[in-house]
């Protein structure tokens, strides 16, 4: 089914996206812009303590304030069951919490006629807490000084993972070279520009309608229905006309957002909008899990990897689920550098911080920083070109993925060679930096490879797969209904191209409809985990093939077939999600005055399988590098004794246009016949993992010392430079 016609009509070109003009003209309606008749506004009352017991909320006085409609406290939502952060994690996130577990945890809400009144009353309401001892580091969580959740006696956020193959201990004794290092990564935030929000209309008891930021409408629908104890069919989740991007932040419900908003709407029988402030959107949602990773790698005298060991500690925050993050790490760590003797152990704990959650390349971003930094260190020590080392020692076609699938398509070699060529990477000892260093500037180059997955096969309890209903309309256009969300990534355009290419008609004839759970087929995971092109794309491709067949017998007249409909389906046969690989190269300059790092040049060679929409593909890669560079250099949500220090756009630094390097994208098309349509893979998340280590390796090259902790800020660099002088 994935045979590519010799002359592709749309594939690999740039198609203008259909929602682009409305967005460019400011006419597209985002959640922030949405208003409804009779709508009331809600704001959340939040805990100012990392851990506390709510003693009293003066609901009575608040209700007397003009414009206030309702005030809700934990008492009123006691009967609702908690919700989970990931599909397979324990349900511990309560709608409102009388024992708040982090600064910003929801303890109540105010509904008012305007947002300003709701926000002000929520901030100023008379409230009493008893501060409880809190647990603010992985170590203190492990020591069980304070047990955070009643449901766990040991602060563990999921089972301890401990897996091994071969015999690491004995193998290590045989090694000529042994490398050991401990790496630390930080709390990174999606920091979306549109603050998270949600509108619920449950004024009619038999139907709850929800508009929210989301990656998947059915996942949200089912979680909401379960939590609120109603039938899934009575919940209709609709994406707004335009959605500010989420980058995984809204992989799952946030208990104090959608469920809370729904209950408020039911209580007052009116639509309610719960709009988070930009600050709330940062420090009360979820962030990337911080990690401590200890790696040991042993090599024989011929530089073959004989033994590997990884010990991971993860901070899950108040309600996160480091367990699934660790599984994602294990998946990549165990296959990227195949070795007979490996041991992996991971422990994840709860602390009284913002919950850990999903964010572009869950787990993979953390483990790659450690793993690829260490590989670079090895290459330096044994004096081998890091490019050569990776060509020799990394995974190949036919190697096994964690759940047993054999790698079918793996463009790593091409990524490495073509990327190196584009970058001008010769070898470690004949630097590309032929020009003379300007005084006061340290220069360095670095590279790393990065592996992530597309799709969620085997990673969540719900079987992976998607469906698509296609129908030929009166006017001869074809409508494809899919359960995927357009959150800016270009899902709609990509699916349009896939259908148009297969049927061989103009993209204008294709309509992709994703208007809400009541009108599209079930698809649990929607646009999570870079699965749109791969999984949903295959369902659309299947439907398009069937329509093509209908047409073949009818001399190609679509109007004559008006009313015909087909159902496209796809379920991957693999046990693992689709592996995706890339190789990144970068050049940095470090200012000796300040330790500031300027990334001057960046080459990303990314195996995308097959380019569907060129500009969409480029946009995902260039955007992923922005998140990766921020992770490497400056993005960090900082806490001091449990209090967020920088939860706003001024304090939380993301890179600006002048801070970004010149980026060259090298697209590698090692198409996977059993992957996405036309052999395509996934692109949004797989870009992320290689970035931070590539930058870290370039910095190590420039400074002559390695940095084991992200982000690599100017202060950390200066401390090394000062001591060197």
């Amino acid at each position: 089914m994935n045979k590519i016609s010799s002359e592709a009509r749309f594939l690999g070109r740039s198609l203008e996206r259909s929602d682009g003009r409305a967005k460019a003209e400011g006419k597209a309606e985002y959640l922030r812009d949405m208003l409804m008749p009779e709508m009331a506004f809600a704001a959340v009352i939040r805990s100012p303590y990392p851990r506390a017991k709510l003693k009293k909320i003066n609901k009575h006085d608040a209700l007397q304030i003009s414009g206030v409609i309702d005030v809700i406290t934990p008492q009123e939502v006691k009967s609702f069951s908690p919700v989970s952060i990931f599909p397979n994690s324990p349900k511990i996130q309560k709608i409102l919490n009388d024992t708040p577990q982090f600064v910003g945890d929801a303890v109540g809400a105010v509904v008012a006629e305007t947002f300003e009144i709701a926000r002000r009353v929520a901030d100023e309401i008379e409230i009493e807490f008893e501060e409880l001892p809190s647990c603010l580091s992985i170590d203190s969580a492990l020591n069980k000084e304070v047990v955070i959740h009643e449901s766990t006696s040991d602060n563990l956020a999921g089972p301890v993972i401990s897996t091994k193959s071969g015999d690491f201990e004995s193998a290590l004794k045989e090694c000529t070279y042994i490398f050991e290092g401990e790496y630390t990564t930080q709390r990174q935030c999606a920091q979306t520009i549109e603050a998270m929000a949600c509108i619920c209309d449950w004024s009619n008891e038999s139907e709850l309608r929800v508009w929210t930021h989301l990656d998947s409408m059915f996942h949200f629908r089912d979680s909401l229905a379960e939590m609120l104890e109603i039938e899934p069919d009575s919940v209709i989740v609709e994406p707004p006309e335009a959605l500010g991007a989420t980058f995984g932040l809204k992989n799952s419900l946030i208990a104090s957002l959608e469920p809370l908003c729904a209950i408020l709407s039911r209580r007052i029988a009116k639509p309610v909008k719960l709009q988070l402030t930009p600050e709330e959107s940062i420090f009360t949602t979820v962030s990337r899990h911080p990690a401590k990773i200890r790696l040991i790698t042993g090599l024989d005298e011929n530089y073959n990897i004989l033994a590997r060991n990884a010990e991971v500690l993860l901070d899950s925050g108040a309600y996160g689920w480091g367990y699934v993050v660790a599984l994602s790490m294990l998946g990549k760590w165990s296959c990227l550098y195949p070795c007979a003797n490996q041991e992996f152990a991971a422990t994840s704990v709860y602390t009284n911080h913002i919950p850990g959650g999903a964010y572009r390349a869950v787990g993979t971003a953390q483990i790659h920083f450690a793993m690829e930094s260490q590989i670079d260190e090895i290459c330096n020590e044994i004096d081998i070109d890091p490019l050569e080392f990776r060509l020799k020692n990394s995974a190949k076609v036919g190697d096994e993925l964690p759940m047993g699938t054999k790698i079918r398509s793996w463009g790593l070699e091409e990524c490495l060679t073509k990327g190196a060529e584009a970058f001008g990477w010769k070898s470690k000892n004949s630097r590309i930096l032929e020009s003379v260093n300007p005084p006061g500037v340290l220069r360095g180059v670095g590279m790393a490879i990065g592996m992530h997955h597309a799709g969620l096969t085997g990673l969540i309890p719900t079987p992976e797969g998607s469906k698509c209903y296609a129908e030929i309309l009166e006017d001869g256009k074809i409508e494809f209904r899919v359960g995927v969300v357009e959150k800016g990534q270009g899902a709609i355009t990509t699916l349009e191209i896939i259908a148009a290419e297969i049927i061989d008609i103009d993209t204008g004839q294709i309509k992709i409809l994703n208007s809400g759970t009541s009108s599209v087929p079930f698809d649990f995971s929607g646009a999570e985990a870079s699965r749109t092109t791969y999984i949903v794309g295959r369902a659309v491709a299947d439907a398009a093939q069937q329509i093509k067949k209908l047409l073949d017998g009818k001399e190609g007249k679509l109007v004559d077939l008006a009313g015909s409909s087909v159902v496209g389906e796809f379920e991957p046969l693999d046990n693992d999600p689709l592996p995706v690989i890339g190789a990144h190269f970068c050049e940095v300059e470090i200012d000796e005055i300040s330790g500031m790092v300027y990334v001057k040049r960046y080459v990303a060679a990314q195996d995308v399988g097959r380019v569907i929409n060129l500009s969409g593909c480029m946009g995902q890669i260039e955007g992923g590098i922005h998140h990766g560079l921020g992770y490497a250099l400056c993005e960090e949500l900082l806490y001091d004794s449990g209090f967020p220090i920088n939860p706003n756009f001024m304090g939380y630094k993301v890179l600006m246009a002048s801070d970004m390097p010149e980026i060259e994208v090298v697209l590698i098309e090692d198409s996977d016949p059993d992957g996405g349509p036309f052999g395509a893979k996934g692109v949004g998340t797989p870009v992320m993992p290689a970035v931070a280590p590539a930058v870290a390796n370039a910095i190590a090259d420039a400074v002559g010392e390695r940095f084991f902790e992200l982000p690599i800020t100017p202060y950390k660099i200066m401390n090394v430079l000062i001591n060197k002088n």
Binding site: I593, S594, C634, K653, T713, M718
Partner: protein, 286 residues
């Protein structure tokens, strides 16, 4: 809810009389680029805002024989475009280029920036090199204060109740031939961690006069007098060696404000390197 109001006087006299009527709850607003976000975040809660933007005479950048006088409503962009500033006060022009982002420069004013007294201000170090004065008017009359005396600490000045800052006056004869401004910030458009303005005269390769000021993570922007006086008379090529030899710059050490990971050590090293490099740039005419 308390009563609040924006007042739009047309003349300075009206500004002063409104100020008197409104009392302590009044704040003057010029460009508003610092004040409005502070109001939005609830960090400032004035009752009255006295808006200067209808007072035409406050927009002017005026040159006299010995001074350039920058009115309270002159924006950073206007300073950047002023040929008088470009030609006669290059150091101010260099610093103005580094102020935040174009959006902020278009509305933020120099006088407002001085009154806000952010230690990380880009403009204040340049103005300190120019021995600039701020001109304050109240119903009791007019006074001019040197910036070095006007600014007393982070966000604090000696402005009195009922006083309005109407302009900043820079002495033309304080401008030297060589000038440079440099800034260390974590990302484009951000406030400086360390900033440095240098203004120098040299004769026959010898430093004749030197002014160095710094801002950033300090209690306030200051002149680095202890370095200034020691480099006068030195041959230009010995300046860097001299700075490298200074173990501690006392004036800076005394006013550093460490903050989290920005430790004392980091800041003193950064300031010392920044001064050295700014001096070098100034000497080479960069």
């Amino acid at each position: 809810m308390k009563q609040s109001k924006v007042l739009n006087p047309k003349t300075l006299a009206e500004v002063l009389s409104l100020f008197e009527q409104c009392g302590d709850g009044a704040r003057v607003i010029a460009g508003g680029q610092s004040l409005v976000p502070m109001i939005s975040l609830g960090l400032s809660e004035p009752d009255f805002l006295i808006n200067l933007s209808s007072c035409d005479d406050l927009f002017v950048i005026k040159k006299t024989r010995k001074t350039i006088n920058i009115g309270a409503m002159a924006s950073v962009s206007e300073i950047l475009n002023s040929s008088q500033v470009i030609n006669l006060l290059p150091i101010l022009n260099f610093a103005a280029k580094k102020v935040a982002t174009p959006h902020v420069r278009n509305f933020g004013t120099l006088v407002g920036n001085v009154c806000h007294a952010d230690p990380s201000s880009d403009l204040i170090p340049a103005l300190l090199c120019l021995d600039a004065q701020i001109d304050l008017v109240s119903k009791d009359g007019k006074r001019s204060v040197l910036l070095s005396e006007f600014i007393t600490g982070p966000y604090s000045t000696t402005i009195r109740g009922g006083e309005v800052a109407v302009s900043v006056t820079c002495q033309l004869d304080k401008q030297s031939k060589l000038a440079s401004y440099k800034k260390v910030a974590r990302r484009a458009g951000d406030l400086g961690i360390a900033t440095c303005a240098v203004s120098l005269d040299s004769h026959k390769d010898c430093i004749e006069s030197a002014k160095i000021s710094v801002g950033g993570y300090l209690r306030k922007a200051i002149r680095v007098l202890d370095i200034e006086k020691n480099i006068v008379g030195l041959p230009a090529h010995e300046i860097c060696t001299f700075i490298d030899g200074v173990e501690k710059i006392e004036s800076i050490e005394n006013s550093i404000l460490p903050d989290g990971s920005l430790t004392n050590n980091y800041l003193s090293a950064t300031f010392s390197r920044l001064i050295r490099s700014t001096l070098k740039d100034a000497l080479s005419g960069k």
